[in-house]
Symmetry: C3
């Protein structure tokens, strides 16, 4: 979304602010505003590169870099020991994708078009994978919530790594499924008409530049979370589950809404549900693996996150099974998101 | 259902009983028996008025007065401070509509017809709205059940009002949806052939009369609940979740069953699911708003109610996605209701 | 599956072992290996008898004897007072049928065929019955988990028997449904081409012989559970929920996988889901009734079992609503099973 480009001004402003020791709350806002356009540019660069790499490698790049911003923010949060923020942001990203992005897409699209249809088959594959993936996350959590935590720390670790390996294996197999054995299912989705606008060298340079800057900004952002939450009385959990996902996904969100407005509901659904799926099957295991280099992080989500995840995924499956959407469905998804956000805020 | 008319004899009997200080158990039964036919007459009067008011206002009247009896009983229960009875009766009404009414309709219809079909599209809109609405109710409950109650009383209130406002806004938008932007979805449902039998003046007079009498009977009914439960050892929760909904919905229940028996399964489904939806999106927020005039009531249901609500709504969605019903499906719904009722009774 | 026949050698070996007082762990393994082929032979004998008895009695025999092995093992476990093993094995049988058997069938079938379709209608009847049945089991459990156990023991018993009676009544009605009122739904499923290979007398003799031997082996198996779990540090719960169902169902499992590999996905699904349904609607109530002769067993499952049951059944419904399967779906079911098994193991 080019309209977000002007936010790039916050990249130098936030860096200046860091050296001038602005207050954490100001730094939190400045770095957040800087991350939003950088994430958009990173997505654009990935897409440009995929023109040159052919559809398979391109699809893989898009699938893998699609949540790179969240991955980078989560990496720095993990390094800072903010495990609760990391896990809340994973859950929040799934919830936000399903309720906020899909809800806003259906509402915007539904205002223009009475009823919008989408290719049920490919969306059902994604939404049922999402259901299985969330069930896979829920099972170890429920079984460990009932056992004394201190007694089981070492076992937790083994369980987390096992589940992460299974999730990651499923991720790789799903790429094989969608790029090799069943690529025809996805062929039905109308692609955006597209020709490369950048040279390959430019695209690679932009990708590297954006990645580095997102890293810099994420480090400032994460560094501001703790003092900011203490200063203004916001919970770290709320920051993780509501604010981080909105910042990390803003570029993607706006793309989905524009697609829905252009009556390309398939693309909007695929962005929202596909991105949720990657958060669970790719970003989560990668973070677990990376955490082994520092302090091992467990894959056990807290009960609020689990409830919100399970309910969101049930909604995604309900919505996908229709094969069509309208404005009221969008409003309902947004209403559930609003109720969740208010509940999390009060918590 | 004209067959219930003879129960009107309990209107004078109960009033005499009140003056003669009959025992609470007797008064509970007498007023309950009086409410059943009055609720039926109120529904009939609303329908008659809608012939004169045109389809839109008529639809609105039907949608809004459809649960008037439950609203009146709940209002008096709320005024008497019986918050647990009020919330149990809301949950019980949804559960009863889905399991008892739909189950009995499918069984009765299925005995006569091997398989009955219904218009999936409109039922799916209602049943998925019901899913979202119940999820909307579940979220704040789960998040508050885990926090110390006394610490959060003031926050509860704010949360309850926020959720009530969101629910009520969705209700208004759903009326706009079904009477304006997407009224064609509902046009497919075959309406009962109908001409007005009463004059408009008569209908209005009957509506007012029935409403006043339901108010009188409800006050006696509610007044008898506490001493009756103490006398015969029944829990207030059981009264709220099983008995009140059966009494308040008896007229509607019998209509749904008759419709199913006439092979108008669409109408039976719409009564059961539409009525459940109104309980959550209309009756609940209105009660929360009214409670602000007395002691504010929270929108937080207890875990039994939530579990029963969520399971019933999952069942409703499962049933609706079929597009057809048979006697065994009816028996299964009734069996789940029976198991719930027995569990609640033992509780 | 004839290939499992060679395991019959473990019948005499285990009996010798019993007299020579082999260690419990060895006896556990020997008797388990003996039960597997006996269960297969029992299934074969039942099928042979049904050729002579006509389709209705045959269907009834197959439906009732289909889980005879689990019933016999559970009976001896119940007699030995191992109620936790009994209930874990019921839950584990449902979970294993849906996740392990169906997952392996879809994977094996999906490796050979790109996409396999099945008759949605009959599978949806079974999978929605399964949903209702599991909800029926969940409701009393949730309501009793919150009440002090000692206070309610006598009420528990009444509740368990009531629920068992309701379940069993539904079971009988479902037989009436599938063999009388709606037998055409099931007619669509392609049956294996079949002629009797044994005489009726031989079939009856084999059935009796296999049943007796399964009884003998089950008693040895159950007798080894407690000392074995103590010796090697495995939990009884893990034995009940993972090992017992694999042993009891091995013959059925291999049939389902072979059917999927022959592209008869309908048969594979019907085995997996039908067998789950019988465990809940037939085996469970029968065990409750039988327990009245000894120490009454409650129908209340623990929360791990309930969570695993509910999630598995949601997955079954999701899978059934597709009407088709592929290898990735199979892998996902297996992954959920693997995560569950690892979690149970760590527990």
């Amino acid at each position: 979304m080019k309209i977000l480009r002007f936010l790039l001004i916050f990249v130098p402003i936030s860096i200046v602010g860091e050296f001038m020791h602005f207050s954490p709350t100001v730094m939190f806002i400045l770095s957040a505003l800087a991350i939003i356009p950088l994430a958009g540019i990173m997505g654009e660069a990935t897409e440009e590169i995929s023109f040159y790499s052919g559809p398979r490698v391109g699809g893989f790049l898009n699938a893998t870099f699609g949540n790179a911003t969240e991955l980078i923010i989560a990496f720095f949060a993990m390094q800072a020991g903010l495990f609760d923020v990391v896990k809340a942001s994973i859950a929040g990203s799934v919830i936000g994708n399903i309720l906020l992005v899909l809800g806003a897409s259906m509402l915007m699209g539904g205002i223009k078009f009475k009823s919008q249809t989408f290719n049920k088959q490919s969306i059902e594959v994604s939404s049922s994978m999402l259901l299985f993936a969330v069930i896979g996350l829920t099972v170890p959590a429920i079984f460990t919530h009932t056992v004394a935590a201190d007694l089981l720390n070492t076992r937790y670790e083994g369980l987390s790594i096992t589940v992460a390996i299974i999730m990651f294996a499923i991720y790789l197999m799903s790429l094989y499924f969608s790029f090799y054995t069943h690529k025809d299912i996805y062929a039905a989705i109308p692609e955006e008409e597209a020709t490369p606008k950048w040279s390959l060298n430019k695209a690679i340079a932009v990708l590297i530049g954006a990645t580095v800057l997102i890293g810099v900004e994420s480090e400032m952002f994460v560094g501001a979370v703790e003092p900011m939450t203490e200063a203004i009385g916001l919970s770290e959990f709320f920051v993780g589950i509501i604010l981080v996902p909105i910042i990390g996904n803003a570029a993607e969100h706006s793309t989905a809404i524009v697609m829905a407005y252009k009556n390309k509901m398939d693309v909007a659904m695929e962005i929202a549900i596909g991105s949720s799926l990657q958060m669970i099957l790719f970003v989560t295991p990668v973070l677990i693996f990376l955490s082994l280099l520092f302090t091992p992080m467990s894959i056990i989500f807290n009960e609020f996150e689990l409830v919100a995840l399970v309910l969101s995924v049930l909604i995604a499956n309900r919505v996908a099974s229709d094969g069509e959407s309208n404005w009221l469905e969008g409003v309902q998804l947004l209403a559930v998101y609003l109720i969740m956000a208010v509940s999390f805020f009060i918590l």
